[in-house]
C-alpha cells in the first residue's frame, strides 16, 4: 500500500518534470556552460599546467643576480615559472598591460650588498588580476633569497675574493696567481664539506611512495580541466536540487499539498519521501548526462563511471534534502529563493565548483573540503581519478545515507506544518 502511494507521488512528479523540458534543460545547461567555459579558459582536457610568467629587470648584472634568475627557472620552480629578462621600461609597460604574473626588479649593487652583508632590496611587482601564480612567484623568490643568504654564510669570504678579482681590470686578473686560485678552491671545498653532512643527504628525509598498480597506470593524468570537472557535476547537482526543492512551494501555491493533507491516504512523510525519490530520479538522469559528456571530453575510463554515477546521485539526494530543509522553513517562496541562493552560491564558491581546490589558497581549500558539496566533490574526484576503492565508496555512501536520513526526518517533521499553515 505504502509503496503504491509512493510510486504514485514519484510518477506524478516525474510527469510534471517531464512536462517542463525547458526547465530541465536550463538546469543542465547552466553548469555545463560555466564548466565548459572554465575548462576551455584553462586549456581544456590536454591543457598545460598554468605557468607564472616572471619579467626580470636585472640592473645589477652580477654573479649573484644571475644565480638568482637562473635558480628561478630551474628545479621545482622551473615547471611553473617562466622567467624572462627585459629592459626596465618594457617590463613596466608589460606588467601594466597584465602580460605577466609579476615583475622582479634587481637593483644595481644587489650582489655586492649581499656578499658584503649590507642591506639591499628586491622589488616584486605583482599582477593584481592574478592571485595564485604571483603567490607562487613570491614564495619561490623568498626561497631563492634564503638560499643565496646561506651560500654567502658558508663561502662568503671566498666569493668576495673572486668577485673582487673578476671586477678588477684585466692586468690584475692576469696577475691573480694560480696558487691563490688553488687556495680559494680548497677553502670552498672544505667549507662545503663541513656542512655537506647536513645537506647531502638532508638530516631529515620524507619518503613518499605509491605502489605501482594497474589502476594507477591507467589513471587519467589530471589536467586543470579534469580537476575542475567534479565541481561542474556538483554545480549541476546543486542547481538541480535547488530547482527540485522549489517544487514544494509550487505545490503549496497550487493547493495540492493542502488537498493531499486534508483528504487522502498520504501522510506528510510519505508525500515528502515520494518527492525526494522523484527528485533523486531526475538528479540521476542529470548526473548520467553530465558524466557522459565529461567522460567523452576528458577521456575518462568507462570503469569509473558506474561508481561516479552512484556517488553523485546519492550526494545529489542529500543536497536535495538540504535544499528542501531551507524551503520548508522559509516563511515565503521569495524568502526561500533568497535563502537558498544565499546558501548555494557561497557553498559553490568555497566548495570547489567555481574554482578547483588546487587553485585556491590552502586555507580556503581546507575549509571548502569540509562543506557538504566540497566533501562530495573530493569523493567524486577520487573516483574519477581512480584514487578510491570499493571500501572507501561504501564508507562515503554510508555517511551520505546517515546524513540524508537525519535530514529526511527533520524535513518530514516540518512538512505537515508547511502544507497546512
Amino acid at each position: 500500500m505504502i509503496w503504491s502511494l509512493l510510486t504514485g507521488v514519484v510518477r506524478k512528479d516525474l510527469l510534471r518534470a517531464w512536462s517542463d523540458p525547458a526547465g530541465l534543460l536550463i538546469t543542465l545547461c547552466i553548469p555545463l556552460a560555466i564548466g565548459g567555459l572554465m575548462t576551455m579558459a584553462t586549456g581544456g582536457s590536454d591543457g598545460p599546467t598554468p605557468k607564472a610568467r616572471l619579467l626580470v629587470v636585472d640592473e645589477d648584472d652580477s654573479i649573484v643576480s644571475q644565480f638568482l634568475v637562473g635558480a628561478l627557472g630551474r628545479g621545482e620552480g622551473g615547471g611553473v615559472i617562466d622567467a624572462e629578462l627585459v629592459e626596465p621600461a618594457v617590463g613596466r609597460s608589460r606588467i601594466d598591460a597584465g602580460e605577466a604574473s609579476a615583475l622582479l626588479l634587481i637593483p644595481a649593487g644587489f650582489g655586492r650588498a649581499l656578499l658584503d652583508e649590507t642591506p639591499s632590496e628586491l622589488q616584486l611587482l605583482t599582477n593584481p588580476a592574478q592571485r595564485i601564480l604571483p603567490g607562487i612567484l613570491q614564495e619561490t623568490l623568498e626561497m631563492g633569497v634564503d638560499a643565496a643568504f646561506y651560500l654567502q654564510r658558508v663561502v662568503g669570504p671566498q666569493l668576495r675574493t673572486l668577485r673582487d678579482a673578476i671586477s678588477s681590470d684585466d692586468a690584475q686578473v692576469a696577475a691573480f696567481p694560480e696558487a691563490e686560485v688553488a687556495r680559494l678552491s680548497i677553502e670552498m671545498r672544505r667549507a662545503i664539506q663541513r656542512v655537506e653532512s647536513y645537506l647531502f643527504p638532508p638530516a631529515i628525509e620524507l619518503s613518499v611512495e605509491a605502489a605501482p598498480t594497474a589502476a594507477n597506470e591507467a589513471a587519467p593524468k589530471p589536467s586543470y580541466g579534469l580537476l575542475f570537472f567534479p565541481g561542474v557535476v556538483l554545480m549541476a547537482l546543486f542547481f538541480a536540487a535547488q530547482n527540485q526543492s522549489e517544487d514544494l512551494w509550487r505545490e503549496r501555491r497550487l493547493g495540492t499539498l493542502r488537498r493531499a493533507m486534508s483528504a487522502s491516504a498520504l501522510s506528510a512523510r510519505s508525500l515528502l519521501f515520494g518527492k525526494v525519490l522523484a527528485g533523486v530520479v531526475v538528479l540521476g538522469g542529470l548526473v548520467a548526462v553530465v558524466l557522459a559528456l565529461g567522460a567523452a571530453y576528458h577521456r575518462l575510463p568507462l570503469a569509473v563511471l558506474p561508481a561516479a554515477w552512484l556517488w553523485a546521485t546519492v550526494a545529489g539526494g542529500v543536497l536535495l534534502l538540504l535544499m528542501m530543509l531551507v524551503q520548508l522553513h522559509a516563511s515565503s517562496q521569495r524568502g526561500a529563493a533568497i535563502l537558498s541562493s544565499a546558501l548555494v552560491f557561497p557553498l559553490l564558491m568555497v566548495g570547489g565548483s567555481f574554482f578547483a581546490f588546487e587553485a585556491m589558497p590552502s586555507w580556503m581549500a581546507s575549509i571548502g573540503r569540509y562543506t557538504p558539496n566540497g566533501w562530495a566533490l573530493e569523493r567524486l574526484k577520487d573516483i574519477l581519478l581512480q584514487r578510491s576503492d570499493a571500501a572507501a565508496l561504501a564508507v562515503a555512501l554510508g555517511v551520505a545515507g546517515l546524513v540524508g536520513g537525519v535530514l529526511l526526518l527533520v524535513c518530514a517533521r516540518a512538512m505537515r506544518r508547511f502544507a497546512t499553515r
Partner: protein
C-alpha cells in the same frame, strides 16, 4: 454521516467557530450558509483534520477526526475553494494521481477515472493538459479529483466561486447526483440561491456561530408567512421604525437612512397605510420591491445585516 458537536476553534482571541453543532445525514446535502469570514472554511478544516479544534468533537462516519484521523480522511472527498489540480498534467493524470493517493490502482483505478471523466464531462479532453482548460472545466476537474475514490462523505467549500453560470449548473447537478447516490454532502456557500435550490437542510452561520438551522421550510417559517417589502429612499430610521411598528402585522427588519426592509402580513392590503405612515414620518420613497420570504430575509432578520456584506 458527519457529526459536529460543540465545535470551537480559536485563533488567539478570535473565535472562528464557537460551539457549532450539526449532523449531516447520508444522502442529504447539508448547507452551511454565511458571509465570508463566518467560519465555514474553518469548520471544513476541522472536519478534514487540517485544523485541530480548540474544543468539541467531530466525527466522520463514526471516526473521530482527532483520534482516527487516517480512517476519517479515507472516507472524505474534499473540493477546496481554490483550484487544487496539477495544471501541467492532463485530466486523466490528475484523476489517476488523486485516485492513487487513496490507494486505488490497476483496473479499479482505470475504471473510476473513466467514470469520473464521463461524470464531469471531460472525456473528450481527457489527455489535454489542464492548463489548456477553461475556468469552468478546471472547476469540474477540481470536483472530479474529489470523486475518483468514490468517497462516502463529500465536503464542498464554496465550489462555485468565480464559475460561469453554465458550469455552475453542471456542478450543482453533480452534487445532487452524489447525494442521490447516498453520499453525505456538506456544502458551504454564501450564495443564498444555491443554498435554497440545493440543500435539504441548512445551518446559517455568522461570526462562528449557528444562528439558525433546519430544512428550508423550517427556516422560512422563522420569518413567518410574510411578504418582504424593500423600500429605497430617504428615511429617519428611528422615527420610521417607531411609527411603522404600530401598524398591525408590520415588522421592521432593517432600517437605515436610505433603505427599509419590512416583513408584512398581507402586504398588498397594507400598502396604503404604510405609505401614509411613511409620509407622516417625513420619508421619501423612490423605489418599492415586494418579494416572498427567503433565506436572505431570514439572515437579515437574524443578524441585522445582508448576506453579501
Amino acid at each position: 454521516m458527519i457529526d459536529v458537536e460543540g465545535l470551537t476553534k480559536q485563533f488567539g482571541d478570535v473565535y472562528a467557530a464557537r460551539g457549532l453543532s450539526f449532523r449531516a445525514q447520508p444522502g442529504e446535502v447539508f448547507g452551511l450558509l454565511g458571509p465570508n469570514g463566518a467560519g465555514k472554511s474553518t469548520t471544513i478544516g476541522c472536519i478534514c483534520g487540517l485544523l485541530s479544534p480548540t474544543s468539541g468533537r467531530v466525527a466522520v462516519l463514526g471516526h473521530d477526526v482527532r483520534t482516527e484521523g487516517v480512517a476519517s480522511r479515507r472516507e472524505l472527498g474534499v473540493v477546496p475553494q481554490e483550484l487544487a489540480i496539477y495544471e501541467d498534467l492532463s485530466a486523466t493524470e490528475n484523476l489517476r494521481y488523486w485516485g492513487g493517493a487513496f490507494g486505488l490502482r490497476g483496473a479499479d483505478l482505470q475504471r473510476r477515472v473513466a467514470e469520473v471523466l464521463e461524470q464531469i464531462g471531460l472525456l473528450d479532453r481527457a489527455r489535454e493538459p489542464a492548463k489548456q482548460f477553461s475556468g469552468g472545466m478546471k472547476r469540474r476537474l477540481n470536483f472530479g479529483c474529489a470523486l475518483v475514490h468514490a468517497p462516502r462523505v463529500l465536503l464542498l467549500d464554496e465550489p462555485t466561486v468565480g464559475v460561469d453560470p453554465q458550469s455552475r449548473v453542471r456542478l450543482l447537478d453533480l452534487v445532487r447526483e452524489q447525494a442521490k447516490a447516498g453520499v453525505t454532502v456538506l456544502y458551504t456557500t454564501h450564495y443564498m440561491e444555491e443554498a435554497e435550490s440545493l440543500c435539504d437542510r441548512l445551518a446559517i452561520v455568522d461570526h462562528g456561530e449557528i444562528v439558525a438551522q433546519g430544512t428550508l421550510a423550517e427556516l422560512r417559517g422563522l420569518i413567518g408567512e410574510r411578504d418582504v417589502l424593500r423600500l429605497v429612499g430617504v428615511f429617519e430610521p428611528d422615527r420610521v421604525q417607531r411609527d411603522l411598528s404600530q401598524i398591525d402585522g408590520v415588522e421592521v427588519v432593517q432600517a437605515d437612512a436610505t433603505a427599509l426592509r419590512l416583513a408584512v402580513v398581507g402586504a398588498s392590503a397594507k400598502l396604503p397605510a404604510l405609505f401614509a405612515a411613511l409620509a407622516a414620518a417625513g420619508a421619501t420613497v423612490r423605489e418599492t420591491t415586494m418579494t416572498q420570504p427567503n433565506l436572505e430575509s431570514l439572515f437579515i432578520k437574524l443578524t441585522g445585516k445582508e448576506l453579501r456584506e
